[in-house]
């Protein structure tokens, strides 16, 4: 109703995604009853509940793609009892958008590496290889699951993830 109260306490975590099918921040906060069903159904243990240090976000589901990304198995949206996660298909699970940093990406430094392309759960719809076999993100197809970020072999990760407008 009054979003300013939510904004007052909003201290967003540094490196986190929402599960697939999650509503926008205020819609998720309005509906999430912190039951932990999505945590228990996740077969990869990607989802965890936000700790008390996140204040208003306490108990809502988060994904840390650097620890364990989302593999888009789409098991969590149907179990949500209050509809904080909407049941959607893989391609609609709008979690964020990845971007290749060409300065640090190995393929752009004349080394053959296509780990992000091979591990992408959307198989060629989100990342393609150009004629010089360098990864290119398709902005319309990428849902921001974070697998490419997780598998990137470079020290500083040659991929950034923009989680629904929130910079990671």
């Amino acid at each position: 109703m009054f979003d300013f109260i939510q904004n007052l306490f909003k201290t967003l975590p540094a490196v986190h995604l929402r599960p697939p099918g999650a509503r926008d921040e205020s819609g998720l906060l309005a509906r999430c009853i912190k039951c932990g069903r999505c945590v228990e159904v996740c077969p990869y243990q990607s989802i965890f509940l936000a700790p008390y240090s996140q204040w208003i976000l306490y108990g809502t589901p988060l994904i840390d793609p650097l620890k364990q990304p989302c593999y888009l198995c789409m098991k969590c949206p149907p179990v949500c009892p209050t509809g904080a996660l909407k049941p959607v298909t893989k391609a609609e699970s709008n979690m964020g958008l990845a971007k290749v940093i060409e300065e640090t990406c190995l393929s752009y430094q004349d080394t053959l590496c296509n780990l992000c392309y091979r591990h992408c759960p959307l198989k060629g719809k989100a990342i393609t290889l150009d004629e010089e076999l360098r990864p290119v993100i398709i902005n319309e197809g990428c849902v921001g699951c974070g697998v490419c970020l997780y598998v990137c072999p470079t020290e500083s990760r040659a991929i950034t993830l923009n989680a629904n407008g929130r910079k990671i």
Binding site: I5, R31, I33, K34, G36, V79
Partner: protein, 272 residues
């Protein structure tokens, strides 16, 4: 306590302990990929469907979003119907916080604070019931205004369940114990069963759902000798001796077990 018959208490303890063990075991079983049952007391189901949802969480969602979801409505009505039939029995037979509150009662006894054998005076009793309902109403209004389910942040039942989930999945002890600690300290030092009696919104909802035909402790006046044992053992300040068994009664049946003359029993019938 002279003649303690132990009719209901062993079963109650068994159900309480098994529900607590279930809440500890469910995250572990799901970690081992045994997903026959998933969830906490906030919401229970399988990986395909939801059976039971906490009605307080559902009411807050309805108030905030102003949309009725059929699955949520059906799963939330299960415990409301349970309260219509069995009164506030959820509290003393299922609730995980109740176990810790009873431990707090024991600690109160050890500290020598548990010697108030008098029931609450009618005025104090009425005031307690009012506080309970006002707190529920106020929390629902707060949820409506702020747009977030505020009761879920302070709910000790959900906190205990989340404590087990975080312990299993994150391998760390979260801040959830703070809520349990605050409630226990308050109940030990300020008011006996203060949370359940004056504040708990979940219990207040179930209490409001119970009515004259739901399961209740009823007194048979011909058997009653007026010893007052039932009043002495009641942790919630009810007075079965004076037929004052209200909406805060959790049907724990401690008074029934303590009655030496079988004058009290749990029944659905109004008289008899």
């Amino acid at each position: 306590m002279k003649r303690f018959t132990h009719r209901y208490q062993p079963y109650r303890r068994l159900i309480q302990a098994s529900i607590l063990l279930l809440m500890i075991a469910i995250p572990f079983l799901n970690l081992l990929k045994i997903d026959v049952i998933q969830g906490t007391l906030c919401s229970i189901g399988t990986s395909e469907m939801t059976f039971i949802t906490c009605p307080i969480g559902a009411i807050q969602t309805f108030l905030i979003t102003r949309q009725i979801d059929l699955v949520l409505l059906l799963s939330a009505s299960v415990l409301v119907i349970f309260a219509f039939v069995f009164g506030r029995a959820f509290c003393s037979w299922i609730c995980v916080q109740h176990i810790f509150s009873e431990m707090g009662d024991k600690i109160r006894g050890i500290l020598g604070k548990n010697n108030d054998s008098k029931p609450d005076s009618p005025k104090r009793y009425q005031r307690g019931r009012k506080i309970l309902l006002y707190f529920l109403g106020g929390a629902l209004v707060a949820a409506f205004i702020t747009g977030i389910p505020v009761i879920c942040y302070i709910c000790p039942i959900g906190s205990i369940c989340r404590f087990f989930i975080n312990g299993t999945y994150l391998h760390k002890i979260g801040g959830e114990l703070i809520i349990l600690g605050i409630i226990l300290i308050m109940e030990i030092s300020v008011a006996r069963r203060g949370w359940c009696k004056y504040l708990c919104p979940v219990g207040a909802l179930y209490g409001a759902c119970s009515h004259s035909r739901s399961l209740k402790v009823r007194r048979n006046a011909t058997n009653c000798v007026g010893c007052g044992q039932c009043v002495e053992v009641c942790p919630m300040g009810e007075a079965p001796l004076h037929d004052r068994i209200g909406q805060t009664c959790t049907n724990c049946a401690i008074c029934v077990d303590s009655c030496g003359t079988n004058a009290l029993k749990l029944s659905f019938k109004k008289k008899g």
